[in-house]
C-alpha cells in the first residue's frame, strides 16, 4: 500500500471514529410496548442526535415522547433494535451502571424532589453516583460534592433558599432545584420531560431559557419534550415530531425549520411518513 493511501485511510478512519464519538444518541429499529398484549408505543427506525445539540421533541399526548425519554434514560428496556447512548450499546435487558446513569440527567414534569429535604440536600443528592454507597449510609459527601451542589444552586439563583424545605417552594423554584440537581450530577445529556407543563405561562419562558442557558454553558446535549411548537421553534436547534410512537417530522431533514406540519397534532389528518434513508 502506498504511503499516501495509507495516510488517507488513517484519516478516514479517524474521521469516522470522531463522527461516531460525537453521536450522543443513536436509536435504530427500536420497538417498545409495555406488555406483550398491548400495541407498540414506540417504533423508531432511525434517530441520531449529535453531542451538544438542543432538540425539542413535540407531539400530541400519547405520542410516545415520555417513553422515548425513558428509553434514552435506560428506565425501560426496548424489545428489538439497537440503542446506543454516549457510545455505549444497550441490548434488551442490559443493565446500566451507576456511572452511566449519572451521565444522563433527567428533569421531570412533577419535579420529583424530596419535599422534606432542603434545597441543598436535594441538589447534593444529585451527586450520589460519585460517593461510595457505604458512606451514603451516614450521609457523607466530599467537599468537592458540596462545592458542586453549591455552584449548581448558585447557577439557578437559589442560594438564598438553600436551607429551605423543598415543599415550601413555588413551582418555578422547584423546577429550578430540579435543574440544579441535574447540573450537580454533571451529565452529558439532559432529558427534560415536559419541564413546564406544571408551571404557569409566566414561568414557562423563565425555566426554558434557564434550561437552554445551562445546557449551552456546560456544552450538554439537551432533549426536551414540549407541547408548544412556538417554544420549540424559538429555543431548540432541531425539532423532532412524534405521533403514534413514530417519528413523523424531523426539522434536520426538512427544508423549512419553521414549518411544523399541522398533521402532528391533528388526529383527523394522517401522519406524514418520512423517508427511511435519512440519518
Amino acid at each position: 500500500m502506498k504511503l499516501s493511501s495509507h495516510i488517507e485511510n488513517e484519516i478516514n478512519l479517524r474521521d469516522i471514529g470522531k463522527a461516531q464519538a460525537e453521536i450522543a444518541v443513536s436509536i435504530r429499529d427500536v420497538k417498545f410496548r409495555y406488555t406483550k398484549q398491548s400495541p407498540y408505543v414506540l417504533n423508531i427506525e432511525n434517530l441520531r442526535i449529535q453531542k451538544g445539540e438542543k432538540v425539542a421533541v413535540i407531539g400530541p399526548s400519547g405520542a410516545g415522547k415520555t417513553t422515548l425519554m425513558r428509553l434514552i434514560n435506560g428506565v425501560i428496556e426496548h424489545e428489538s433494535g439497537e440503542v446506543k447512548i454516549l457510545g455505549e450499546t444497550f441490548d434488551n435487558g442490559s443493565t446500566k451502571s451507576r456511572d452511566f446513569r449519572r451521565r444522563i440527567g433527567f428533569i421531570y414534569q412533577d419535579f420529583n424532589l424530596i419535599g422534606r429535604a432542603s434545597v441543598f440536600e436535594n441538589v447534593l443528592w444529585g451527586r450520589v453516583a460519585y460517593i461510595n454507597p457505604l458512606f451514603s449510609l451516614v450521609g457523607w459527601f466530599s467537599i468537592r460534592d458540596k462545592q458542586a451542589a453549591l455552584s449548581a444552586i448558585d447557577e439557578v439563583n437559589l442560594i438564598g433558599h438553600m436551607n429551605q424545605r423543598a415543599d415550601t417552594l413555588s413551582g418555578g423554584q422547584m423546577q429550578r432545584v430540579a435543574i440544579a440537581r441535574v447540573l450537580a450530577q454533571e451529565p452529558e445529556i439532559i432529558l427534560a420531560d415536559e419541564p413546564v407543563s406544571n408551571l404557569d405561562p409566566a414561568l414557562t419562558d423563565d425555566i426554558l431559557n434557564l434550561l437552554v442557558e445551562v445546557s449551552e454553558n456546560h456544552k450538554v446535549t439537551l432533549l426536551m419534550n414540549l407541547h408548544q411548537t412556538d417554544l420549540a421553534q424559538r429555543l431548540a436547534e432541531r425539532i423532532i415530531g412524534l405521533r403514534g410512537g413514530e417519528i413523523v417530522y424531523d426539522s434536520s431533514q426538512e427544508r423549512l425549520f419553521n414549518h411544523v406540519p399541522k398533521s402532528l397534532f391533528d388526529p383527523e389528518v394522517p401522519p406524514l411518513k418520512m423517508s427511511k434513508n435519512r440519518n
Binding site: R98, D99, R102, N112, I114, R116, A117, A129, L137, Q185
Partner: protein, 213 residues
C-alpha cells in the same frame, strides 16, 4: 363492687417506694421491648415493602409478620417465662416479638407509601438500592416511622402491665399480688400511679407526633 371500691380508699401510700420501682421497671420493659422491636422491624420492613423487594422476598416476610401478630402477647410471655425464667427479661422478649409483627408491617407500609417520583430521580442520578433507601425512602417516611414507634411504645406500656400477671416483671406483678392478698388500698395506689404514667406518656407521645411532619 361498691365494697371492692370502698376498700380501695384511702390508698395506701406506704407502698409508694415499691410502686415507683416497679413502675420504672414497667417503663423499662416497654422501652426495651419497643427499641428491640424497632431495630428488628426496620430491616424486616424494608424486605416486606413491595417497592423495595421482589415478590419472592416481600410475600414471605409479610406472612412471617402476620404470624408474629397472630400470637397473643400473653402466650409469648408465658412461653418466655418458662424458657428464661421469671422477671422483666421474658417480658421484654414477649413485647419485642409481638411488636415486631405490628411494627414490621407498619414500617413496610410506610416504605411503600414513599412517593416513587423522587426514587426514580435518585435512580436516574446513579443511586443504588442503599442510596435510594437512605436518601429517598427514609427522608420521606421518617415522621411515619417515628409516629408508629411512639404509638407502639404506648401500646407496649399498657401490655407490659398484663405481662406482670404471668410473672414477666413490672407493676402488673404487684397488682395481682395485692389483689390476691385482698390489699385493695395498695392496689389503689398502684392504679393511680399507673393512670398518671399512662396519661403522661400518651400526652408526651401526642406532643412529639404533632411536631413531626
Amino acid at each position: 363492687m361498691a365494697d371492692f371500691i370502698g376498700r380501695m380508699f384511702p390508698p395506701n401510700t406506704a407502698v409508694a417506694k415499691t410502686v415507683l420501682a416497679s413502675t420504672l421497671e414497667t417503663l423499662q420493659i416497654a422501652f426495651a421491648g419497643t427499641v428491640i422491636s424497632a431495630l428488628v422491624s426496620f430491616p424486616l420492613g424494608l424486605l416486606g415493602a413491595e417497592n423495595l423487594s421482589p415478590s419472592w422476598v416481600h410475600q414471605p416476610v409479610k406472612w412471617f409478620l402476620s404470624m408474629l401478630r397472630a400470637i397473643p402477647v400473653i402466650l409469648l410471655a408465658l412461653m418466655f417465662v418458662s424458657t428464661v425464667g421469671l422477671g422483666p427479661f421474658p417480658g421484654v422478649l414477649a413485647l419485642a416479638v409481638h411488636s415486631t409483627g405490628m411494627l414490621g408491617k407498619f414500617y413496610a407500609e410506610a416504605f411503600e407509601n414513599a412517593s416513587s417520583g423522587p426514587l426514580e430521580a435518585l435512580e436516574s442520578s446513579g443511586a443504588n438500592w442503599i442510596q435510594k433507601v437512605r436518601f429517598g425512602v427514609l427522608t420521606q417516611v421518617a415522621p411515619d416511622l417515628a409516629r408508629d414507634t411512639l404509638f407502639r411504645f404506648e401500646l407496649n406500656l399498657r401490655e407490659s402491665l398484663v405481662l406482670g400477671l404471668v410473672g414477666a416483671g413490672g407493676i402488673g406483678f404487684y397488682i395481682q399480688l395485692y389483689i390476691r392478698s385482698f390489699q385493695y388500698d395498695k392496689v389503689a395506689t398502684l392504679t393511680i400511679v399507673l393512670l398518671v404514667i399512662v396519661v403522661l406518656v400518651e400526652q408526651l407521645s401526642v406532643a412529639i407526633r404533632k411536631r413531626l411532619r
